[in-house]
């Protein structure tokens, strides 16, 4: 039998104003197991806590019920008090007689009656409480960052600067992501390469960072503090440690007509290539689908010209196995495909381009060396139409567009329009918009500058259709404020395509058991208060893989994710929450119901031997809960049809006892 002490708090007048606290402590005195009951003005104060500690000693208490505010507020406080008095902290229960009672009732009689009932329920539960001890697990002091865009780069640098080793896995031959493809960046118009490439070099030179480029994550096992990850380093047919990045091979490769991904197919690269001059790592990669030597064994020129001897046609994919304490997802975004938007003639005319293609067209390292020339005939365009919200805010058909606002396109379109007018003042520039959304520091001022100082013509309305005719693009659009349908003969049309998460994010989320929303953006643990953590312990989110963001926001989130990772890696051991699920193996029939509902992937099954009454041994499949992964949500206890799964600290018997006490 427990020896329970009851402590009723007044919370000043917060509780005592509507609940007769003396009556409550008096009524609970006669509940089973209660040996002591009292009330006090502020139970959480030092004096209040001393009352509890003294009572534990004086009355040999084995359990404590505090009738006070919400357990969210002071459960931790009173557990510490109990521990200080030598009790197991999990022998404390809180009856919430403030938020759920005094604050919602006006009448003293009903308030008091309800407080007594809540107190009885807590007493009934403590009678069944058992001491619980949280488990401990060690922490591997190394982090994995998946994706090497600006998000992954910033997160890796911050973690590495704090002294922890970090590995970046990037699926492309170089890190840098989309930012490496941009020309100038809003709102300050500094050149993207000038601010990004020094960071890429920092990554390459950091003693705590390893880059696995041209690599993908194959398999993820384990749990927070102890992830086991298999990384596939794809064969690039060039020895990374020997290649000096001189480019001799690239120059001599006879396969010259391979669409260049980095310039979005607007020019060509060779079969052996270095994506751009500042690539990190700066090593060549041979594209096996284009190389003659790899396809038919005929050529081998690059190997002959490479003085370092770095070419290796026999190179194989390599599998790397490594342990990590924390994983950061930074897989970024891509513009959506324009294939379904026939009305904008993207597939009919090379002069209808996306905004990312426009970035390459104005970039000094791009296919036109930064001269704004339209792709079809390399003429300077005199009339340019920008169309915002192409495929964003689109509710009509999920295959075509996205329901959300892509957030960055209003600003980059203002940037593009402004840059054109600045460099080529003879160009007419129209921007068709539904709304101009420019919240952000110096953002609206930036957009207004495009209109007021650079003379960009912003038109409220949407383009309805574009028809290529001769060397013109006939743009038909509405001007809602003038109540007119406009017809513009344009030389170049730029579509601000919606953005979506990288297609590899979904399979990665499955490997991580991390949750995603219906648009395949990773879900945060709490949309306001835990924005950089995934609900899966030890998995963190950085950059646009979590939602549309510009660079300033991406970098802030990247550093925030790093701070969370550092907070995890500095710990030598992780103390778990002891209130976790545990199966009764004798009742479990291995049906897998619990595994299917567990959002954290905490449940596995083993074949276990059970001695039988006739001295034989039977082997049965039974559930096992990984204490480091289980978050104690209780979903499995509800799903288990055999009643084998129970949640420690919230056993079914305890809950039933509470309900019984309330209904008595």
């Amino acid at each position: 039998m427990q020896r329970i002490g009851v402590f009723v708090c007044w919370c000043g007048t917060n509780i005592a104003g509507t609940v007769d606290v003396a009556a409550v402590s008096e009524a609970l005195k006669s509940e089973p197991g209660v040996v002591f009951s009292t009330n006090y003005q502020y139970m959480c104060s030092q004096a209040g806590q001393d009352i509890i500690k003294d009572a534990v000693k004086e009355h040999n208490l084995t359990g404590i019920v505090v009738c006070s505010c919400s357990p969210r507020m002071h459960e931790a406080t009173f557990r510490k008090t109990a521990a200080a008095a030598g009790l197991n902290p999990y022998m404390v229960e809180i009856a919430n007689i403030r938020e759920q009672c005094s604050w919602v009732h006006k009448d003293m009689l009903t308030g008091t009656e309800k407080a007594i009932i809540l107190g009885k329920a807590a007493v009934a539960k403590v009678n069944l409480n058992t001491p619980l001890t949280p488990g401990e697990s060690p922490v591997t002091k190394r982090a994995l960052v998946i994706g090497g865009g600006i998000a992954g780069i910033q997160t890796a640098l911050d973690i590495a600067d704090a002294g922890f080793p970090v590995d970046i896995v990037e699926k492309n031959p170089t890190i840098g992501g989309k930012m490496a493809q941009l020309d100038k960046t809003f709102p300050t118009l500094d050149c993207a390469a000038c601010i990004l490439t020094p960071k890429m070099v920092d990554v390459a030179q950091h003693e705590n960072i390893r880059i696995f480029s041209y690599s993908e994550v194959e398999e993820i096992g384990g749990f927070v503090g102890n992830f086991d990850v298999k990384i596939k380093k794809k064969a690039r047919f060039v020895k990374e440690d020997i290649c000096t990045g001189c480019g001799a091979c690239v120059e001599k490769c006879p396969m010259k007509k391979i669409p260049n991904e980095f310039n979005l197919g607007m020019d060509n690269r060779r079969a052996v290539y270095i994506p751009f001059a500042q690539a990190v790592p700066k090593v060549a990669t041979i594209d096996p689908s284009a190389c003659n030597m790899l396809k038919s064994g005929k050529c081998g020129i690059c190997s002959k010209v490479c003085t370092a001897g770095a070419i290796d046609y026999k190179q194989k994919d390599e599998l790397i196995e490594e342990k990590y304490g924390a994983i950061v997802v930074a897989t970024g975004f891509n513009p959506i495909s324009m294939d379904k938007f026939d009305e904008f003639a993207y597939n009919q005319s090379r002069d209808v381009i996306t905004s990312l293609e426009f970035e390459r067209l104005t970039n000094a390292a791009g296919p036109t060396q930064g001269k704004l020339l339209r792709p079809s005939d390399l003429e300077h365009p005199h009339t340019i139409v920008f169309v915002q919200c192409v495929g964003s805010r689109c509710d009509a058909c999920a295959e075509k567009g996205k329901e959300y606002c892509s957030k960055i396109c209003c600003m980059y379109t203002a940037k593009h329009a402004m840059l054109v007018r600045d460099k080529y003042p003879d160009t007419e520039v129209y921007v068709f918009y539904i709304d101009v959304r420019t919240p952000g520091k110096n953002f609206d001022e930036f957009y207004r500058r495009a209109v007021e100082e650079y003379g960009v013509r912003y038109i409220k309305g949407m383009v309805g259709k574009i028809t290529p005719e001769g060397d013109k693009l006939k743009v038909q659009a509405s001007d809602l404020l003038a109540d007119k349908q406009l017809h513009i003969d344009a030389d170049l049309v730029v579509l601000a395509a919606a953005i979506e998460p990288d297609k590899t994010a979904r399979p990665l989320a499955t490997m991580l058991t991390a949750s995603m929303d219906t648009n395949d953006f990773f879900t945060e643990a709490h949309p306001k208060l835990r924005p950089v953590e995934s609900p899966t312990a030890g998995v963190f989110l950085s950059g646009t893989c979590q939602g549309p963001k510009d660079i300033p926001e991406t970098v802030s989130q990247a550093s925030a994710a790093a701070a969370k990772v550092i907070g995890l890696l500095v710990k030598d051991k992780l103390t778990g929450n002891p209130c976790i699920a545990s199966p009764n193996e004798l009742m479990c029939n291995g049906c897998s119901s619990c595994e299917r509902v567990c959002p954290y992937g905490a449940i596995t099954y083993i074949d276990k031997e059970f001695p039988q009454p006739d001295r034989t041994v039977a082997v049965r499949r039974v559930a096992q809960v990984n204490p480091a992964v289980c978050q104690g949500c209780g979903a499995c206890t509800v799903a288990c049809m055999s009643g084998a799964m129970d949640l420690r600290g919230f056993m079914s018997s305890q809950i039933i006892a509470e309900v019984d006490a309330i209904c008595k």
């Binding site: 919200c389 805010r393 309305g461 949407m462 309805g464 259709k465 509405s478 809602l480």
Partner: protein, 130 residues
């Protein structure tokens, strides 16, 4: 909104199956409409006027018959509003009031002209019968 307007609005909405409050006023429908210059009220205005219960002026507008029923606006509206169906529903309430079809299948052979696109006949049926 006035009671009569409220009633007319819900009637049009019921008949067309369109939810005008999904419209985000982008104007893509009017940007795409081939009959724009012929119409007094343009597709996005139809949507807005039905939403605000301002249906009276639409009933007597030529626009009802200028719409080609080409459904370009339906195809391209990013919010799936289907403006042409609203135009049609308003038109039907006028035609039905007069209690007669303006066109029967028997009238067709006489009107046939090799230059007339098939779609025009189909849309004429949409517009003048029910």
């Amino acid at each position: 909104m006035h009671k009569d307007n409220e009633k007319m609005k819900s009637e049009i909405i019921r008949r067309s199956g369109v939810n005008p409050s999904k419209c985000m006023r982008c104007g893509k429908c009017s940007g795409t409409c081939p009959a724009y210059d012929e119409m007094e009220y343009h597709p996005h205005q139809f949507v807005y006027m039905v939403e605000s219960g301002d249906i009276e002026p639409l009933l007597s507008s030529e626009s009802l018959y200028k719409c080609l029923s080409c459904f370009a606006c339906v195809d391209r509206c990013p919010r799936g509003v289907e403006p042409a169906k609203l135009v049609e529903a308003v038109r039907l309430s006028v035609i039905r009031q007069q209690g007669a079809n303006h066109l029967t299948a028997n009238d067709i052979p006489e009107m046939l002209d090799p230059d007339l696109p098939q779609q025009a006949i189909v849309s004429a049926f949409r517009k003048y019968t029910k």
